[in-house]
């Protein structure tokens, strides 16, 4: 159990880094500034509409958690190298894989803590407003959103090891938003193309990260019934498996990287 001490130290470092920078406070303030005036609106003098508020709140939660988790993860290694703080870390009696895992786990936990905070606030406000809050769908949405965060942080970590952090953020942003919007349309698009492009698009469909699985906002906003738990767990396991592969490649690259 020798690896636990440096691992917990690295995780604490990441958590401390997130909360020290006050990013979370700025994000929370921005959410309130957007949502509070909207909550007083009564279009055409008719009261009672709440789904649009839930939709905007969840959209903000998605945007802010994605921004926080991606920017944090993409900067882990490049910043350590640029500021040369990587050398004291490498001098510690810990393998490179352990260092990478510790830093990654720290950022992941920090991002998940932000997610839990936002979902907690969302649940409290909705439960106070209405007695019929769909707790089970909320729990599924939270589980899958956590899966999404695990997936995107591992992708950002992998990208940070071979491209510049700004380019990494741009490319990963395009991939993630592209898959969120058009992930399920890829086979239809592929079928309309000629042969080499069709094969390429089909390959992208099978290999690219299917971020669209994790977006349960519609189910939560429109009070749909719960999805089967086995399906939710399968999607979560997909995220774990995909991020494990990404982390494995990242560790392999980091072990061979000349610093």
């Amino acid at each position: 159990m020798n690896f636990l001490t440096p691992l917990s130290a690295l995780i604490r470092l990441s958590l401390y880094d997130l909360y020290r920078r006050k990013d979370l406070v700025v994000v929370a303030m921005l959410t309130l500034v957007v949502l509070i005036p909207m909550s007083f609106a009564t279009p055409f003098g008719v009261k009672g509409a709440s789904r649009y508020l839930n939709e905007i709140a969840l959209l903000l939660v998605w945007i802010f958690t994605l921004a926080i988790s991606m920017t944090r993860t993409a900067r882990i290694i490049p910043v350590e190298i640029e500021s040369r703080t990587i050398y004291p870390l490498l001098a510690k009696p810990a393998s490179r894989t352990l260092i990478l895992f510790g830093r990654y786990a720290g950022v992941l936990l920090a991002s998940l803590s932000v997610l839990f905070l936002f979902y907690g606030l969302y649940a409290i406000i909705n439960a106070l407003k209405s007695a019929m809050f769909p707790w089970e769908v909320w729990a599924q949405a939270l589980l899958l959103h956590a899966g999404f965060i695990i997936l995107v942080t591992s992708l950002a970590l992998l990208g940070s090891l071979f491209i510049h952090s700004d380019a990494n953020l741009s490319i990963m942003g395009i991939v993630i938003v592209g898959m969120l919007l058009y992930g399920q349309q890829l086979p239809v698009l592929a079928a309309e193309q000629s042969l080499p492009l069709r094969t390429l698009l089909n390959a992208v469909y099978w290999v690219a990260p299917h971020c669209e699985f994790f977006d349960m906002r519609t189910r939560l906003i429109h009070h749909w019934p719960t999805a089967p738990w086995i399906i939710c767990c399968s999607a979560f396991l997909y995220a774990i498996a995909y991020s494990s592969v990404c982390f494995g490649i990242a560790a392999w690259l980091f072990n061979r990287k000349k610093i």
Binding site: K47, Q184, H210, F213, W224
Partner: protein
């Protein structure tokens, strides 16, 4: 900030104001807009934004439609459930889910997580549509569909005809050439507020506008306005007016239109 920055801001405002006045002058002198797709408005914002406002308005109407369908974005989502053709929403047999995606685990997983048999929004929850409709009307004041759809939701789903009338009148102010809005106004006044005199004035305005716009003989809105004018003339036992509208309909409209056939049947 330096004095030069203040001067720059002042010059920019001056330029914007001059542009605005020049555009307004151009519209008055020539009688058409620089951007005819936005209507003859002379509004600087319309010219800068171009069709963007119309696109935003349409997207917001689509959002309201999605809410009406309980979160389903379009019929494509329904086909994700049945696997092929669009189904009858209210038929429980067609709502049975099929597992057409066994060979594609990604599609199977996605369909199980997202697609559901959709139901139309209950009338009691119709207020959920209003924020999107309101935003559509505000974002795109020349979008006739936005005003019409909102008025429908307000009158038929929420029983708020006065609010609908106020909105339609605002729409007419923004779109003074719209025959459709004039007909909608007349329908609200006649069917929901039972103000037949005001309704008749609206239908007359709709008819005049369609004549001014040189509507073709098969124009449905003009036919509808003529039918209502004849119907209201009959309602107050004004046979002369009824015969006059029937004569206009015979002369100017296609007899194949249902509204015109119905108008000619009134005795």
């Amino acid at each position: 900030m330096s004095k030069r920055s203040y001067l720059l801001i002042l010059v920019m405002f001056g330029l914007l104001y001059t542009t605005h006045r020049l555009i307004a002058f151009n519209n008055t002198a020539q009688g058409y807009s620089v951007h005819p797709q936005q209507g003859n408005t002379g509004n600087l914002l319309d010219i800068i934004a171009g069709d963007t406002r119309a696109l935003i308005g349409n997207a917001l109407i689509e959002k309201a439609e999605t809410y009406f369908h309980g979160g389903m974005s379009d019929h494509g989502d329904c086909t994700a459930i049945t696997g092929d053709e669009h189904h009858d929403h209210d038929n429980p047999v067609t709502l049975k889910k099929t597992s057409a995606f066994r060979l594609d685990p990604w599609k199977y997983l996605n369909s199980k997580l997202h697609a559901e048999a959709h139901i139309h929004l209950a009338l009691a929850s119709a207020e959920e549509l209003l924020p999107w409709y309101w935003a559509a009307c505000e974002a795109s004041p020349h979008n006739i569909l936005a005003f019409e759809s909102t008025a429908y939701a307000l009158t038929s789903m929420l029983q708020q005809p006065h609010e609908a009338l106020r909105l339609i009148e605002k729409g007419i102010t923004n779109n003074p050439n719209s025959v459709r809005l004039e007909v909608t106004r007349g329908e609200i006044l006649m069917k929901h507020l039972k103000d037949f005199t005001a309704a008749e004035k609206s239908f007359q305005a709709a008819h005049e506008k369609s004549v001014r716009e040189k509507a073709p003989p098969d124009d449905l809105l003009k036919a509808e306005a003529l039918f209502y004018l004849g119907y209201l003339a009959k309602k107050r036992n004004d046979q002369d007016a009824l015969h006059r509208w029937q004569a206009i309909a015979k002369e100017t409209m296609s007899p194949d239109l249902l509204s015109i056939r119905d108008l000619l049947k009134i005795e």
